[in-house]
Every structure is written in structure tokens, then in C-alpha cells.
């Protein structure tokens, strides 16, 4: 086993330091070392988006990024999306539009959708579908997810 490395990163607005083996993915360290289990694993090979986080404002599949690459980066996970006691409009609209069934894909969709709305607050349906095409949901057929994102745009 290679020696662990100290990594310093800003995680959900907190400066954080953690130890990581060079081979560990960011997803594994978030979940197993830092107990931030809101970020989910669906495939561990970049094909489902359940593990989506934001790194310096860009959406990333955390299963495809090594934890040591987080050095000096700003990371936002699902746990960092709501403000204190106030849900993000996306979280609120997902609730109101019944945009989740089992909910395993939901953290990834909300982080990915935030990545879109931060950049394109007026994205239309096609653009939302295109942007979220890297996130799989097997329960909903996407209809209510797309509606929830379009509704959140209006609230923002």
C-alpha cells in the first residue's frame, strides 16, 4: 500500500485536511473517510452521475477523480447545497414536483442541475435534458425531474 498523502481542500465552505491513499477516488474519500455519504455510488465508472459533485464550480463525477487531485480545490457536495435552514430552490422544487422516487439519484441530479443553473439560469427543456444526460434515473422517467429544474429556474 502506497503511503497516504495529506490533502487540503475547501469542502462545502470549510477548509479541510484529509489523508488519502493515492489510489482512492474522491468519491471513496468523501463517503468512507469524511462520512459525507450524501454523494452516491451507482457505477464507479463514470456512467451514472450519482456521484456528481462540484469542483471549482464545474460538475465532476467524483468516482473518476482521485482524492489527491482535490488539493487546493473548492468542492461542493449535496451536503453543501442548502443554506443553513433554507433549502436551495432546486431541493424545494424536487420535493414539490415529486421528482424523486427511490431518491438514490437525487443528490447527483441536484448538484448537476445547480451546475447548469449557475451558468444558464434560463436553460430551456432541451438544454436541461442535454445537461442532465449524464445522470441516470431508473425510477422517474425524468419527466418530473425536468419539470422540477424548470420550476426552480423561475424561483431563482
Amino acid at each position: 500500500m502506497a503511503k497516504k498523502v495529506i490533502v487540503q481542500a475547501n469542502l462545502n465552505d470549510n477548509d479541510t485536511e484529509f489523508l488519502s491513499e493515492p489510489r482512492q477516488s474522491l468519491l471513496e474519500v468523501l463517503r468512507e473517510t469524511l462520512a459525507l455519504t450524501g454523494t452516491k455510488e451507482g457505477c464507479n465508472d463514470g456512467n451514472c452521475g450519482a456521484c456528481t459533485v462540484m469542483v471549482d464550480g464545474r460538475i465532476v463525477n467524483s468516482c473518476l477523480m482521485l482524492a489527491v487531485e482535490a488539493e487546493g480545490k473548492k468542492i461542493t457536495t449535496i451536503e453543501g447545497i442548502a443554506q443553513a435552514d433554507k433549502l436551495h430552490p432546486l431541493q424545494q422544487s424536487f420535493l414539490e414536483e415529486a421528482a424523486l422516487q427511490c431518491g438514490i439519484c437525487t443528490p447527483g441530479f441536484i448538484v448537476a442541475a445547480k451546475g447548469l443553473l449557475d451558468r444558464e439560469p434560463k436553460a430551456d427543456e432541451h438544454r436541461v435534458r442535454h445537461w442532465l444526460a449524464g445522470n441516470l434515473c431508473r425510477c422517474t422517467g425524468y419527466d418530473k425531474i425536468i419539470r422540477a429544474v424548470l420550476k426552480a429556474e423561475k424561483e431563482l
Binding site: M1, L36, Q101
Partner: protein, 773 residues
């Protein structure tokens, strides 16, 4: 949404409150199976067979045990001996010994990916590395990958002593010659006079279909954590559709009393039928026993594909005739389903369900369950029904076309209704079949002109699922603030906490938000059946209704005590307890709850329901497609999905079931398949290559809820979870025909196969043209 009958209006049922567990799920706080972290926890990994069929000559685990960090290794030899007793597992009977062998192969591996040994170590990486140090000697055997090869004389036998079970009309068929075979059972139903029926037919269509196995595709992989204490108590934290089923299977495989096993349900990331059988628990339990530590095991996505799920691939033949005016005369259906490595495909359900929308008087229906060297199939949303429906709804479309009839007129002419006998002889109960068909025919989508342009077509299809009842338990505890805690044993996969809570709220005249639902472990609530079979909102709903009625009765007694009148003098109306003797005296539940301690203590109630009349569900789809004849790509232009919900408890989540089922069916129709290479290996065991629909592949799915109340439920609910997956394959296939003139007989209808079918059609057209000259 359409209501077909005048019924009392509900206050809570039929509204759309925010689900109670939603906030935790949109903030990442909800704990799913993989989120379990326990003190001293070890990580388990599974060594799997590289061969589709082989005898295990020896397993040497000594190398693995020498690796630092490795704590234990288990093989099938470590599993207590199992008996052959059959157990009830939701929708399918499963042989416990075979479930155990599927978890850890005994003397033979029966598919690539079959578990052979498991390792526990201090990290998942060490456990994975240790797998390479286990030496297994195999004697490689020939293998069979589809039903036709498996039935050939001389085919390699997966289970050397298996003899076909021949069943005619539900009873053993002594006339049938049976021998050792990969066909585990052949069920047959015959009725009427088929010979005469063919003579009476104006048109007869005879067709043949092939489908591939497809996976349920839940986003959360299988996961479990097991702790086996030295006192014999075993605790399982898992994502399952059926906690009590995991308890039963684990206890049977580990040969311990059921009471020694406690199953704690974690939130579950999808199941669709695939999370009922155990896969990891027996190995995790034995590893925990050996090490004295809790052991967590998570499948990789590749393992999920190769060693869990899927549903059957099939070969089907259908011959059906009709009179000139479109009445079905004869009905002959032959279904052969892959069971995977062990018997138990849903072929009988495929045969019965696909015939259920129609009046079928002269019939001969056969259903063959056939083992092949692929993973053992598991239930998948209306198991068997969508496969059968693909054959039936496709053939009927061709029959209607030959008759020159509108496809919905043809279906309506032959529509089964209450009292119609199914092929099993059982009459249908109160159903919404005709209502669904009528809604399709009258829907603006059906009446609208096709979108303009070439290669555009519209198709329809029907679907049926019988739904199940079974036992559920619920407990209600009134809190001093007037809220009510609701405890059930039903795992919530898609919004059933709220749908069940709403039913209790309806009875008590309170808001859905005032009911606080919890899903309890197997030590904390009465026996409850699977979250599956579309039964949860229906059956657990009835348990909650019964408990709520009991709470109401007790609260009426408390009100009577307060006013010193008899309970009969209290009227309950719109959430108010009213003194009939002095109608100005009325109290709310909140006020009664605040006084509970003075009127006799806290009010609690529990109830168990075991309803039978689950209320069968019918569904349908209209779909418009555009096909690119050059590339074979199919674009879905418009999709409308219809379903009889009886009464939609929470319409948003009923719509969600309809939409989700529709899209799984769309994936099955167009893309999804287990692609096995000739060496017996699944070549597409990742989501990159097993392509499920993404948001970009789809339009909005317009759900139409039809409400023909189920007399078996106080509010009229029918199961809603499954039937939505039945119609899409044939509907899309029929639309592709209208868009291109090509008839498809294989699933999936991927671009390559569509280009090929269009090419074949053109070639045939040219030949015909030449013949005419």
C-alpha cells in the same frame, strides 16, 4: 385525470402533499444501504467464476489468508446444509437451496459471474486484491445460452437430475413424456375447440418473437452489512424490498431460528423486483461469524449485471385468428423463457397476463421454463407480463391491420370485462379494461393527426398485471400534540410512506403532515410482505386504515368520557368529534390528544391486514415515433401512458409509477439487452454499453390516470407500480411499422436491426414487384 364514477370526495386521498422522507433525500441525509458505517467494520468482496459452466474441482484459499489485512475467507462449504423446502418469496417460489447455491456455488458454477468465494479484509481494496490469491481449479463444461440450444437433444444439462414438471390446467399432466432436461417445467392451458376456431377464421396470423434478458437497472448496487454476535444474534442492515423475506432466507440458509435474525431496512435505491432474493447476506454473515466483526459488502455495477437480476430472454410463437367482423376465434401461444441458472422464470405469468385483456374462448397456451448458463432471473416489474405482451400486442396489431380495422376498435371488440374467464378458468373481478381502452380511443393524442413528415408512425399496446395482496402490519401511536406516529414494515421505494400515511389521515380527519411515518425493522413491527407486486399502497394502506379506525374508536370513547355520554352519542365528522346530545360540544383530535393523560392514557393501536382483492390493473400506451431509415434511430415524438389506478392515493406518485414503467419499457424496446459473446460472457456489463434511457432520449411522458374503484379497498385503490411497463414494447414496435412498413420480431429494436428490417422489406418489395411484371 379521469374519474369514471361518482364517489364520495376525499379530503386527503387524491391530494399531493410533500412526502415525509423527501427532505432527507434532497439534502443527502437519508441513509441508504451503502451508507452504513459500523465500529470495527470489515469489507467483503466476492470471487466470481470466469466460466459460464464448470465443475469446481478445488478451491485453495490459503494464499488469500496470508495477505496482511485479510481476516477470513468463506466458500459454499461454510454455509450450513440447506434443505429443499420451498418458501413464499413475494411473487415467485424459490428453492432455498438454490438461492444458497446462487450466493456461493457448491460443486458447479452455472454462469460467468457466479460467486465462488468471499473474503473479508480491513479495506475493500485489500479484499479485492486477496481474490487473486484464491486458487480455483475448474473443469470447464459446455454451456447453453438460449432456450433453443438448451432444448436441443444432447444439450449440456445444468442440473443433471432435473426432470421436466409437466402441468396441464394447473394439475400434473400424466400424458406428457418427460425426461432429464433443461426444461424445468412446461405448463399448458387448453380450452374450447381450436380446430373449429381455425375453420371459423376469416384471417389467421402466425408469428414468432425473440427477446433478450434485460436488467432492472436500479441505480443502487446490491449492498449488505451483517453482524453475527457470539450469542447467536444476527443483525442485517440492507437495501431490500422485503425485510421479512431477507430474514426468512438468511435464517434458512444459515440454519438459525428466524427470531435470531433482525433485518434493519436502509433506504433503498430502486428494486423493481430485483431486491427480493438475497445475494450477499449468507457470505457476509459467515464472514462476520468467523471474524467477530460486522462485514459490509457492496457489489460493483459489473457484479450487479453479471450476478443479479435480470429478467428472462425468450422465444415465443403466436397464432391467432378472427372472424371478418373482428372477433377473435382461436388463440395459440407458445412461450419459452430463460430462467437463468436455476428454475423460476415468470413464464406462466407471461402467458396468463398477456391473454388477460381479451376474451379468449378457444385456446392452447404453453409456457416453458428453461435453465441456461446465465444469471438466475429475478422479478422485474410485472414479471413476465411485458414479454408476453410484446408477442400478443404485436400479433393483434397485424391481425387488426389485415382486417382493416382500427387497432383500438379491434381490441374493444374483444375486450375482457368483469366475469370474463381467463385461460386459467378464473373469472376476472371488477376491472377497468374497457375504460382504459375507451380512454385511449377517445384521447386527443389518438385522434390527432400524425406529426407531418416522412417515416413517422403511431402505435398502441395494452398491458395487464394482476397485483397482489398479502399480509401487512401497521401501528399508530397518538402523540400529545395531536400528531400520529405510523409504523409499518413496508420499505419505501417510491413514495409509499406518504401514500400510506394519507390513508390513515383520511380516516382520522387530519392532514397527511400530521401523520409521521416510519419504516421499522423486523423486530419492531408485525410481519409484512414485500414492497412489490404493486401491493404496498394497497395492502399496507388497509393495515393503516384498520389501525386508524381503532384509534378513532378509542378517541370517540375518550370524547364520550369527557362529556359523560355514551360512545354512540359521539358523531365523527370532518375531523371533529361532536356530542350529538349537545351539538355545540365538539373537539378536534388535537384537543382530545392533549387531554389523553386525563382520559385514560396514551392512545395506541396496531392492526394487520391480509387483503385478497388486490384489484387487477390495466394499462396502455400511445406512442408516435420518427424513424431515420438511414441510421435506424427511433425518436419518440409523443408518448401517452394510460393506467387504471382504482383511486390514485397520491396522484404525483401514481404518475411517477406510470412514467417510470413507461420509460423502462422504452429502454427494453429500443436499447437494452444482455449481449453475450459466443464464449458465454456478457460483453456489455457497464452502463456505457448497457444503455438505459437518459433524459435526452425521451420526451415528456404524459400520464393518464383512470379510476375504476377496486371494491377490495376502502378508498378503491388498485396497485399501480407495475403494469406501466407492459405496453411500450409492442406500442413502439407497431409505431415503427407505420413509420417504415417494417415489422420487427426481435427485442431490442436497436438501430442496426431496424436498418436490417427496412432493407429486408425493400428487398421483398422488389421481388414482389418483379413477380407482378
Amino acid at each position: 385525470m379521469t374519474t369514471t364514477e361518482n364517489r364520495p370526495q376525499f379530503k386527503v386521498v387524491g391530494t399531493r402533499p410533500v412526502r415525509h422522507d423527501g427532505l432527507e433525500k434532497v439534502t443527502g441525509k437519508a441513509k441508504y444501504g451503502a451508507d452504513v458505517i459500523l465500529p470495527g467494520m470489515l469489507y467483503g468482496k466476492v470471487l466470481r467464476s470466469p466460466h459460464p459452466h464448470a465443475r469446481i474441482k478445488s478451491i485453495d484459499t490459503s494464499g488469500a489468508l496470508k495477505i496482511p489485512g485479510v481476516k477470513a475467507v468463506v466458500t459454499a462449504k461454510d454455509l450450513p446444509i440447506q434443505s429443499d423446502k420451498m418458501v413464499e418469496l413475494g411473487e415467485a417460489h424459490a428453492n432455498m437451496k438454490q438461492i444458497a447455491e446462487n450466493c456461493l456455488a457448491n460443486d458447479k458454477v452455472l454462469y460467468k459471474g457466479h460467486a465462488v468465494a468471499a473474503v473479508a479484509a480491513t479495506s475493500p481494496h485489500i479484499a479485492e486484491e486477496a481474490l487473486d490469491a484464491i486458487k480455483v481449479v475448474y473443469e470447464v463444461l459446455p454451456f447453453v445460452l438460449n432456450v433453443d440450444d438448451a432444448m436441443k437433444p444432447g444439450a449440456t444439462l445444468l442440473h443433471e437430475n432435473m426432470v421436466t414438471r409437466a402441468v396441464l390446467g394447473g394439475k400434473p399432466d400424466p400424458a406428457k413424456q418427460v425426461g432429464k432436461s433443461n426444461v424445468s417445467s412446461e405448463m399448458r392451458w387448453v380450452g374450447g375447440n381450436l380446430e373449429q376456431a381455425w375453420k371459423d377464421s376469416h384471417v389467421i396470423v402466425e408469428r414468432e418473437y425473440f427477446t433478450k434478458p434485460v436488467h432492472q437497472g436500479y441505480i443502487e448496487p446490491h449492498v449488505t452489512t451483517v453482524n453475527w454476535n457470539p450469542d447467536g444474534k444476527i443483525t442485517v442492515w440492507t437495501s431490500t424490498q422485503h425485510t421479512f423475506g431477507v430474514r426468512q432466507q438468511a435464517a434458512a440458509i444459515l440454519q438459525v431460528p428466524e427470531g435470531m435474525v433482525k433485518v434493519i431496512p436502509m433506504e433503498i435505491g430502486g428494486g423493481f423486483g430485483g431486491k427480493i432474493n438475497v445475494y450477499l447476506e449468507p457470505a457476509a454473515a459467515m464472514l462476520s461469524k468467523k471474524t467477530g466483526h460486522p462485514v459490509k459488502m457492496v457489489m460493483t455495477r459489473k457484479e450487479v449485471f453479471e450476478a443479479s437480476g435480470p429478467t428472462s430472454g425468450s422465444h415465443m410463437k403466436m397464432k391467432v385468428g378472427a372472424t371478418k367482423d373482428g372477433k377473435i376465434t382461436g388463440w395459440q401461444l407458445w412461450l419459452a423463457f430463460e430462467a437463468g441458472a436455476y428454475p423460476g422464470s415468470p413464464v406462466a405469468m407471461g402467458a396468463m397476463c398477456s391473454s388477460a385483456p381479451y376474451i379468449v374462448e378457444n385456446f392452447d397456451v404453453s409456457a416453458l421454463d428453461i435453465v441456461v448458463n446465465k444469471p438466475k432471473v429475478a422479478a422485474y416489474r410485472a414479471p413476465g407480463s411485458p414479454i408476453g405482451a410484446f408477442a400478443v400486442e404485436s400479433t393483434l396489431d397485424e391481425l387488426a391491420e389485415k382486417l382493416g380495422m382500427d387497432p383500438m376498435d379491434f381490441r374493444l371488440k374483444n375486450a375482457a370485462k368483469e366475469g370474463t374467464r381467463q385461460i386459467t378458468g378464473a373469472p376476472l373481478g371488477k376491472i377497468g379494461n374497457i375504460e382504459v381502452m375507451t380512454q385511449v380511443k377517445n384521447h386527443p393524442h389518438y385522434k390527432s393527426p400524425l406529426p407531418v413528415g416522412p417515416n413517422v408512425g403511431r402505435g398502441v399496446g395494452m398491458g395487464y398485471w394482476f397485483n397482489i395482496g398479502m399480509q401487512s402490519s401497521a401501528a399508530l401511536n397518538v402523540n400529545p400534540d395531536g400528531s400520529v406516529s405510523l409504523v409499518t414494515g413496508s420499505v419505501d421505494i417510491g413514495g409509499t410512506r406518504v401514500a400510506v400515511a394519507m390513508q390513515a389521515a383520511e380516516i382520522l380527519g387530519i392532514r397527511a403532515e400530521d401523520v409521521i411515518p416510519t419504516v421499522a425493522d423486523t423486530d419492531s413491527i408485525g410481519w409484512t410482505g414485500v414492497t412489490g407486486g404493486s401491493r404496498t399502497a394497497f395492502a399496507t394502506g388497509i393495515a393503516a386504515i384498520n389501525a386508524a379506525e381503532e384509534v378513532k374508536k378509542q378517541l370517540i370513547a375518550r370524547a364520550a368520557l369527557m362529556w359523560e355520554v355514551k360512545p354512540e352519542d359521539i358523531e365523527f365528522k370532518d375531523g371533529l368529534y361532536i356530542n350529538k346530545k349537545s351539538p355545540k360540544d365538539s373537539v378536534t383530535m388535537k384537543q382530545l390528544a392533549a387531554k389523553m393523560m386525563m382520559t385514560g392514557g396514551y392512545v395506541t393501536a396496531s392492526a394487520t391486514a391480509n387483503p385478497r382483492m388486490a384489484g387487477a390493473a390495466y394499462g396502455a400506451m400511445i406512442v408516435d415515433v420518427k424513424v431515420d431509415p438511414e441510421t435506424g434511430k427511433v425518436d419518440l415524438l409523443r408518448v401517452t401512458a394510460f393506467q387504471d389506478a382504482g383511486k390514485a392515493a397520491h396522484p404525483s406518485y401514481v404518475e411517477g409509477q406510470i412514467q417510470g414503467g413507461a420509460v423502462q419499457g422504452i429502454g427494453w424496446a429500443l436499447n437494452e439487452e444482455y449481449f453475450h459473446t459466443t464464449d458465454g460472457v456478457m460483453a456489455n456489463s457497464s452502463w456505457l454499453d448497457y444503455r438505459m434511457p437518459t433524459s435526452l432520449d425521451l420526451p415528456m411522458i404524459d400520464p393518464v390516470i383512470i379510476e375504476v374503484p377496486n371494491p377490495g379497498h376502502p378508498f378503491g385503490l388498485r396497485g399501480v407500480g407495475e403494469v406501466g411497463i407492459c405496453a411500450p414494447m409492442a406500442a413502439i414496435r407497431n409505431a415503427i411499422f407505420r413509420a417504415t412498413g417494417a415489422r420487427m420480431y426481435h427485442l431490442p429494436m436497436n438501430p442496426g436491426s431496424i436498418v436490417e428490417a427496412i432493407g429486408a422489406k425493400k428487398a421483398a418489395g422488389h421481388t414482389n414487384g418483379a413477380a407482378k411484371k
